[in-house]
Amino acid sequence: MSEPAYKLKIRNLRKTYGPVIALADANVDMREGEFLTLLGPSGSGKTTMLMAVAGLLQPDGGEVWIDGRLATYMPPNKRDIGMVFQNYALFPHLTVAENIAFPLRMRKVDEATIKKEVTRVLDVVRLPQVAERQPRQLSGGQQQRIALARCIVYKPSIILMDEPLGALDKKLRDQMQLEIKHLAVQLGITVLYVTHDQEEALVMSDRICLMNDGEIEQLGTPDELYFRPTSVFAADFLGESNLIKATVSAVDGSAVTLKAPGGAIVRAAPSRFEVRPGQQVTFMVRPENVHLLNPGDKTDNEVSVKLDDVVLVGQVTKAYAKLGGETKLSSTQLTRVGAKMPKSGEEVRFGWSVDATVLVAEKRPGAAA
């Protein structure tokens, strides 16, 4: 039934708690060696999906296939998975070495091999010196790596991670993101990762599964999600965005022509869903794609605005304005020495390209109206 090339197949997975739909008919496929992130706000169903894959909760319907074997209602110890918990869940009464040996002991591996394997994975996570320590004697980052070592030591088909970097401070988190990513690539492990942090998802993932209200909002590469969001929610959740309501005035093969608030004519990239002239739509343009035009500059889309605020927030400077009196439009420029920035109250021209103008659906495509 299931192609062996897929390490994980989720088919119509469903879970409800009374009237609340925690997960609604989710479908996901994961190839071997893929790093897939479930991203979404709290209550979006990402943890529910992860727990159902782990076998820590029983779904109401649907199927979970792990490495070609049906595992929907298998107990956790019978499915070939590893899991890194948010608080690491290292056993506090066992040493680091005993923690890592635990899954091997459960698999009745002989002691000599256990010793060899424990040493090997401690080298892999670059912590060979902590073997005899108690978990609580380690720093957060070290505990994190031991939790990972405890999973990779028995080479499960798929490793599940539930917000594993949530408890670390920003700097360490940035460092661990790349470290985990490199380790996953180096060892060829398949990782299903959960986070609510969009930056983390963008940095680490091969593909991102964006979730909202128990449903999959959009599933694709970080590029696709960032540059070609399909819905208002996706555009809003990842990165910053200007979301502007407009009316379609013409549709042709190369672009959709829109009439924006304030009367400006805006041309957007061809829509991925059907639009007709006269229809109300929403388009998105990222602030970093909205440029301040110098006199004489030409670009695809242009509007004249009066700046409400200009704020320097560090490496970027943001300029805020309103289109047609109330629709917000902002532009983000890199802060550079000597760059001449306008002041608030000034009249300027904002400009952006057709490619950067993406039509997004109010609701996710295919969702019940």
Binding site: Y73, M74, N77, F85, F91
Partner: protein, 611 residues
């Protein structure tokens, strides 16, 4: 006072943050003066008395202890009873505590109330309920015969009855101690073990059980130490066949007036308790008794002494063996009932656990209620089933001047001693939570010591000191309500300190700072901000102190004499004299009173939690 000197010494210490000045410790002074007068001094005096005869140093009392085998035999019986009580308590309390620890918040809160209920219900009422239940013509014998399990009534009033009564009395203590440790165990750990390939049994025995072990041991220790000093249960339910150490002490004091020898026996009891404490400390570390997290406790640092090493080694073997058995059993079950990946699983183990837990809960909470139907009997003595319906025994209790006086006295002594205990302990709790005093641990253990010293020893010592004060200082405390109040307040101090400290630990100190910054002085801050916020906790501490006094018999036994008696003392005298349905009526009234107090407290707590 030495405490003050120590605090001054602290002042000059080299520390990174400035230590509070000596005056910061002032609120500790009243409680320590109080304990010195009514606890430390009497206990030391009694023990010094045990090495004197007619004012001279002598070991004669101790020679007498070993000369006759009565005392050694009684000590052995005491140890035996305490050991079996502990064993049964621990084994039965564990599944119940586990069930409570793994239940969801709402369910847990309401179930805990049913564990606490027997804990708060008058001790004598509970013992008396067993007297009803286990009687020759009592309900238990009756139903066992009807079911055909017995051919003739079983005699319970011996070792068996004593054990049942003691297990029932002490199990809540074991449950609550275990629960406090189990609540600190991360719920993710068993799940992590499962994802790593452990079957349910393996995950439990290799991960959960070792982590819960400190709670099990601490619970066992508390039960054992408390059981050593028991005399009420063996006297009432032992049918005169069980003679525990505490009963011998009472005999020496009440009948023979031999203080020195009573002190010697008491010391024997104290030494036994201390030896047990020492072994426990070697094996598991004393720090496990205070409520730190499960993670800090196990394993580390124990390998350093031989007893600890042996413990760790035996524990390892035990865990491995039981883990192996569970694994084989799991495999067997999977052969009989293969795992289906396409169908939801039904887990049997949780059902089994709930049935076990609820059964134990019923054992804990149901027996007390048996005094109710019996008290309405129309007959002249305790019978099952009761004869007809009548309130004559209630009339008797209400019309009796002794019962009425005892009730009023118990209530007023309870209220006043609780207020006194609060007045001296609350400031101490504040200082100990908020100031970084040097020697904090020492102060804490001194404040808690009335819990560790067997109560019978405290009672005898206090009685002797009162008699001493009467003879040499003309202060009449024996037979007076004041003497009772002082003794009960002393017993309540540790409970109040612990309860209030627990509340204050969760109190956000910044709220006080906010109030100061807004212009309130310290007194107004305390009155308008702190007290309203910890009101529920203070009320709980007060109720704790009140019930401790209301239910107290040991001190009352010696200190209150003649007509000036308390309810427990009156019940005790009645039970020894003649067991009548009147006693059941009194028990029912106390039961209703205490139960409504608990529900009132719980109601107030919930109301406070909501606002």
């Amino acid at each position: 006072m030495t405490t003050l000197n120590q605090m001054r010494a602290v002042h000059g210490d080299k520390v990174y943050k400035p230590r509070p000045g000596w005056h910061a410790g002032l609120p500790l002074v009243p409680v320590f003066i109080f304990l010195a007068l009514f606890f430390f001094f009497p206990v030391i005096q009694l023990l010094s008395l045990s090495v004197q005869t007619k004012g001279e140093l002598s070991g004669i009392h101790y020679l007498r202890l070993v000369e006759s085998d009565v005392y050694v035999r009684s000590l052995l019986i005491t140890l035996k009873v305490a050991f079996y009580t502990t064993l049964i308590c621990v084994v039965a309390a564990y599944p119940l505590a586990y069930m409570l620890a793994t239940a969801s918040g709402q369910t847990r809160n309401s179930l805990i109330l049913w564990v606490l209920m027997p804990f708060w219900t008058s001790f004598l009422v509970r013992t008396f309920a067993w007297l009803v239940l286990l009687g020759r013509h009592g309900p238990l014998n009756k139903y066992l015969i009807e079911l055909g399990l017995l051919s003739e009534p079983l005699e319970f009033f011996n070792m068996l009855g004593t054990m049942i009564g003691m297990v029932h009395a002490l199990m809540p203590l074991a449950v609550m101690t275990m629960l406090s440790v189990m609540e600190t165990i991360d719920a993710n750990l068993p799940k992590a073990a499962a994802t790593l390939g452990a079957r349910g049994g393996q995950a439990f025995w290799r991960i959960y059980f070792p982590l819960s072990l400190p709670g099990l041991a601490a619970g066992g220790l508390l039960v054992f130490i408390t059981a050593l000093g028991f005399f009420i249960t063996p006297t009432i339910l032992g049918g005169g066949r069980i003679m525990m150490i505490a009963q011998l002490i009472i005999e020496q004091v009440e009948q023979l007036l031999n203080w020195g020898f009573a002190g010697a026996i008491a010391l024997l009891l104290l030494l036994t308790a201390l030896v047990v404490f020492y072994l426990y400390d070697r094996l598991l570390g004393m720090s496990t008794l205070s409520g730190s997290g499960a993670a800090d406790r196990s394993g580390a640092g124990l390998g350093s002494n031989p007893i600890g090493k042996a413990g760790v080694w035996i524990g390892g073997i035990f865990i491995n063996a039981i883990g192996w058995v569970c694994d084989r059993f799991g495999e067997l079950v999977e052969v009989v009932r293969p795992i289906r990946p396409d169908r939801p699983r039904k887990t049997m183990s949780r059902t089994v656990m709930w049935i076990t837990g609820i059964t134990i809960l019923v054992f804990l909470s149901a027996p007390s209620f048996f005094v109710v139907p019996v008290s309405f009997t129309g007959g002249g003595f305790l019978e099952w089933p009761p004869q007809g319906f009548s309130t004559r025994w209630y009339d008797l209790v209400f019309e009796s001047a002794t019962w009425r006086a005892a009730g009023i006295r118990s209530f007023s002594v309870g209220v006043i001693s609780a207020l006194l205990a609060m007045a001296i302990s609350v400031p101490a709790a504040f200082v100990l939570t908020r100031q970084r005093l040097k020697g904090r641990t020492l102060y804490m253990s001194l404040l808690l010591s009335p819990l560790i010293i067997p109560r019978i020893l405290i009672a005898v010592a206090l009685f002797y000191s009162y008699a001493y004060a009467d003879r040499f200082l003309q202060i009449g405390l024996i037979g007076s309500s004041l003497g009772l109040v002082l003794g009960h307040a002393m017993l309540a101090v540790p409970y109040v300190v612990v309860t209030v400290m627990a509340v204050l630990k969760n109190y956000d100190y910044r709220l006080d700072q906010a109030a100061w910054s807004l212009g309130a002085n310290k007194a107004r801050t305390l009155w308008h901000i702190t007290f309203p916020l910890i009101r529920a906790g203070l009320l709980a501490a007060f109720l704790f102190a009140f019930v401790t006094s209301f239910d107290e018999l040991t001190i009352a036994l010696f200190v209150s004499g003649g007509l000036a008696t308390t309810l427990p003392k009156q019940m005790w005298d009645d039970a020894l004299l003649k067991v009548s349905p009147g006693l059941a009526a009194a028990s029912t009234l106390i039961l209703i009173f205490v139960t409504s107090m608990i529900f009132l407290a719980e109601f107030l707590r919930r109301k406070a939690a909501k606002s």
